[in-house]
């Protein structure tokens, strides 16, 4: 397994909680691997499953979706819907051959800077262990 394999990770963070949590990790100077590229969305419910599938099609090694803890959503109900949507997408992607460890949904609140960095590090380590996406050649 390539020792210098650097997974490419796309992170969708909700503006009110997880993006603020990531900021908190910044202000607290808590380091974590730099593979993740963060995209800000107003709410975790804004993330269209098409975006996740498109990211994997373009070659992402992992996609992380982060939102507010259920009950804390700035829009009161957003994360309830995203929880249902991704609870369906996750097993479906796995069924299509994208391993479980490649798609994560995590609740990170605005004060959980530490937790955000842990989530990113564990996620990145898992992907490094898993190795790059297998390029399956088809006649």
């Amino acid at each position: 397994m390539a020792v210098d394999f650097e997974p490419r990770i796309v992170g969708f963070l909700c503006n009110w909680c997880s993006y603020a949590g990531a900021d908190m990790a910044g202000t607290a100077r808590i380091c974590y691997p730099s593979n993740i590229r963060i995209i800000r969305v107003p709410c975790s419910a804004r993330i269209d499953p098409l975006l996740v599938v498109k990211a994997f099609q373009l070659g992402a090694d992992g996609v992380l979706v982060a939102g507010c803890h259920p009950g804390d959503c700035h829009y009161t109900e957003g994360n309830y819907y995203s929880r249902r949507r991704f609870a369906m997408l996750h097993p479906f992607l796995e069924y299509l051959g994208i391993e479980r460890e490649r798609f994560w949904l995590q609740w990170v609140s605005a004060s959980e800077g530490k937790k955000f960095s842990q989530v990113v590090s564990t996620f990145t380590d898992g992907l490094i262990k898993l190795g790059p996406r297998k390029a399956v050649t088809v006649q």
Binding site: R8, V10, N15, Y19, A20, A22, D23, A25, G26, T27, R29, I30, C31, Y32, S34, R37, I38, I39, R40, V41, P42, C43, A45, R46, I47, D48, P49, L50, L51, K54, A55, L58, G59, A60, H74, Y75, T76, E77, G78, Y81, S82, R85, S117
Partner: protein, 665 residues
């Protein structure tokens, strides 16, 4: 064609310390549609902003990417900078090189620089697809609705009215005044409650800007901040208040007596009544459950055998202006408002569930409010405190604190804040009424939280009240005396006190109907069914639903000073809202392409703010349309829709997809 300018910030050494700024600037120059890239010591500083403004003019930029700190920090600052240079403030995107890159990847400078370049590439890809956005102006109805006529509601109504705006005050009871009207004296100054309250009540009645609707309830609330449409149920009083002059003949001559809710069971009132002498409006209502004429009507309706009860109708005969109107029906009024203040107050806790204390079984066990009514000069006993069982003056009075407060077993975990103080007040006043009275207080902690409260508590102790630290386990009736058995934890022994009267310091509880009102106003409520403020410390009188404010004890236990203060604060917020002629709405809201909408209306079902309505097109198709004033811009409908009809301005599908694909360009 987009002409994008990228401004990379050093942020002192915060970013420059880790990221190779020059390398990033060069990389930015190669990116598609970027015509200008520059670095800046401090983008957010005045010289930094000046540099950006000049560059916009000089290079005719129509899109700007600021690569600096978190957008949550300076998005608005840079929007103003860009606007100052004549560009639409929304043609801006911020790449977070500090919190998300330099500060967290200090250990890998090279990787951090590559990440910085890619973050900028994403921002450039997104900003290339930004369109100009313009906040909308929505007209504003400068009328305020205040629900609840207690002291907070009265204070808010007066403040708003004095600020020159129209106010409608809706009160469920026949009179305003709320709980405070039931009190005799108020701590810590011991000034008479009705003396300080009734003038304000009269002021409300006479204020030209205030319309008073008593015996009325809010049923349904539609619309949004600035344009609420509220339907109010005006319950029938069977008395025409436009004719009635409040002369009082009817309630003096009415033969039927019924227990007075206002006196909490300590006194009686007539069927046609005003709750208390200083009631505002001083006009009576008929209680149809106890009125003899209605008993006759019900008897006739059920066609029972036997002699029908008398018809009575004395009040109708005696009324000089025949204001009695049996045909009066409930009616629904629909009114338009710009802001709503909820001041529905609290309900005293009903201590019957404490079976061991014997409330309801032993007549001499009463609540603090009942004692208040006895002590009140205008009360049923006109100020004379007597034992309900024998009518004599009580010599030994035992007070119990925290009845229905700070108790997990009964689901009331919070402290009701006012009981310790009103017990001290009762102790002092009982001593003044009758020097031989000996008061005992069983307490867990005595909480004296505001100005002059501790001194007031000391005064109560000095007046001879014995404070026993411990809880009462049982109250038994033994030959005419109430044996109060409890533990004195400081002595470490059980004590039993024979008492003439026991007063339970009942706490505060949500008002029934609070949940239905909260749901109607789309305001959240907590496990104790108390309203939840937008932010407990920073926005105590606002709620998550714009244009709806809260004041007084409906949010949590509050004493009179706090209730008045929060009433005033809510009024100030309304005044601020009404100070502008128009409401500007946030332009980053959803918009639906009606050509692509398939009419399945899933978005109308999922929208948390009910901001999506339906519309029938000319060709008969039913499609969804966004009410831009209600939409909060969460984007839930965009991801839920299979047709891809809705799009969220500022976070469109095109922009997010561009950000994702830019990582593999």
């Amino acid at each position: 064609m987009a002409r994008i300018g990228v401004f990379i910030c050093h942020c002192g050494t915060n970013i420059a310390g880790t990221v190779d700024i020059n390398g990033v600037v060069e990389a930015a120059k190669q990116m598609p549609m970027v015509v200008h890239a520059a670095e800046n010591k401090y983008n957010c500083s005045e010289p930094g902003q000046a540099l950006i403004r000049d560059a916009i003019v000089e290079h005719r930029l129509n899109r700007v990417v600021i690569a600096a700190c978190s957008p949550r920090m300076h998005e608005n600052t840079f929007r103003k900078t860009v606007a100052a240079a004549g560009l639409n403030p929304y043609l801006l995107e911020i790449a977070n090189l500090r919190e998300h890159c330099s500060w967290v990847h200090g250990d890998g400078k090279e990787a951090a620089t590559i990440k910085a370049m890619e973050l900028i590439r994403m921002a450039v890809a997104k900003v290339a697809r930004h369109e100009q956005l313009f906040p909308k102006q929505v007209p504003l109805t400068k009328r305020a609705l205040i629900i609840g006529g207690g002291i907070s509601g009265i204070q808010a109504a007066l403040d708003i009215a004095n600020a020159g705006h129209k106010v409608v005050l809706v009160e469920r009871e026949p009179t305003i005044g709320g709980r405070m009207a039931q009190l005799d004296k108020t701590f810590p100054t011991l000034d008479c409650s009705s003396c300080i309250l009734t003038p304000k009540m009269v002021e409300v009645a006479q204020h030209p800007n205030i319309t008073l609707l008593t015996s009325a309830e809010v049923k349904e609330v539609k619309g949004f901040v600035g344009n609420f449409e509220v339907s109010i149920l005006q319950k029938t009083r069977k008395v025409d208040h436009t004719k009635c002059t409040g002369c009082g003949i009817c309630w003096q001559k009415c033969p039927e007596k019924a227990p007075s809710e206002f006196d909490v069971g300590m006194g009686k009132r007539t069927s046609i009544y005003i709750p208390f002498p200083q009631a505002v409006p001083p006009k009576p209502v008929i209680d149809t459950s106890s009125c003899r004429y209605y008993k006759y009507l019900r008897f006739m309706e059920e066609k029972k055998e036997g002699k029908p009860p008398p018809q009575c109708r004395v009040c109708e005969k005696l009324c000089p202006v025949n204001a009695i109107d049996w045909e009066q029906k409930d009616e629904i009024l629909t009114e338009k408002f710009g802001a709503i203040i909820v001041a529905t107050g609290y309900k005293p806790f009903d201590p019957t569930i404490y079976s061991e204390l014997g409330f309801g079984r032993h007549p001499d066990v009463i609540t603090g409010l009942q004692l208040e009514r006895m002590m009140s000069a205008s009360g049923p006993a006109s100020g004379e405190v007597t034992r309900p069982s024998t009518g004599e003056h009580p010599k030994d009075v035992v007070f119990l604190t925290c009845v229905g407060s700070r108790d997990e077993q009964r689901g009331r975990t919070y402290c009701s804040k006012v009981c310790c103080m009103y017990i001290a007040k009762h102790a002092i006043m009982l001593k003044e009424h009758d020097p031989e009275v000996q008061c005992y207080v069983f307490y867990m902690d005595v909480r004296t939280v505001s100005k002059d409260y501790e001194e007031f508590y000391k005064r109560a102790q000095e007046s001879g009240t014995i404070y026993i630290r411990g809880k009462v386990s049982q109250i038994r009736q033994e030959d005419g005396k109430l044996i109060v058995r409890g533990e004195d934890t400081l002595l470490g022994e059980m004590v039993e006190i024979p008492a003439d009267m026991v007063v339970l310091a009942i706490g505060m509880e949500h008002n029934p109907g609070a949940v239905e009102l909260a749901q109607a106003l789309k305001v959240s409520y907590d496990v104790n069914e108390l309203f939840i403020e937008a932010h407990p410390k920073l926005r105590p009188v606002e709620t998550m639903s714009d244009g709806v404010f809260v004041a007084g004890a409906c949010v949590g236990p509050r004493d009179i000073p706090e209730s008045v203060a929060s009433g005033g604060a809510a009024a100030a917020k309304v005044a601020v809202l009404f100070s502008q002629d128009f409401l500007t709405t946030d332009p980053m809201v959803a918009v639906i392409d009606q050509m692509k909408c398939g009419g399945c209306l899933l978005c109308t079902k999922v929208c948390p703010f009910k901001a999506i309505d339906t519309q029938v097109l000319r060709d008969g198709r039913t499609v969804a349309v966004v009410n831009e004033s209600l939409c909060k811009g969460c984007g839930l409908c965009v991801a839920a829709c299979r047709f891809g009809a809705p799009n969220l301005r500022g976070f469109t599908q095109q922009q997010l997809l561009a950000e994702v694909t830019s990582l593999w360009q």
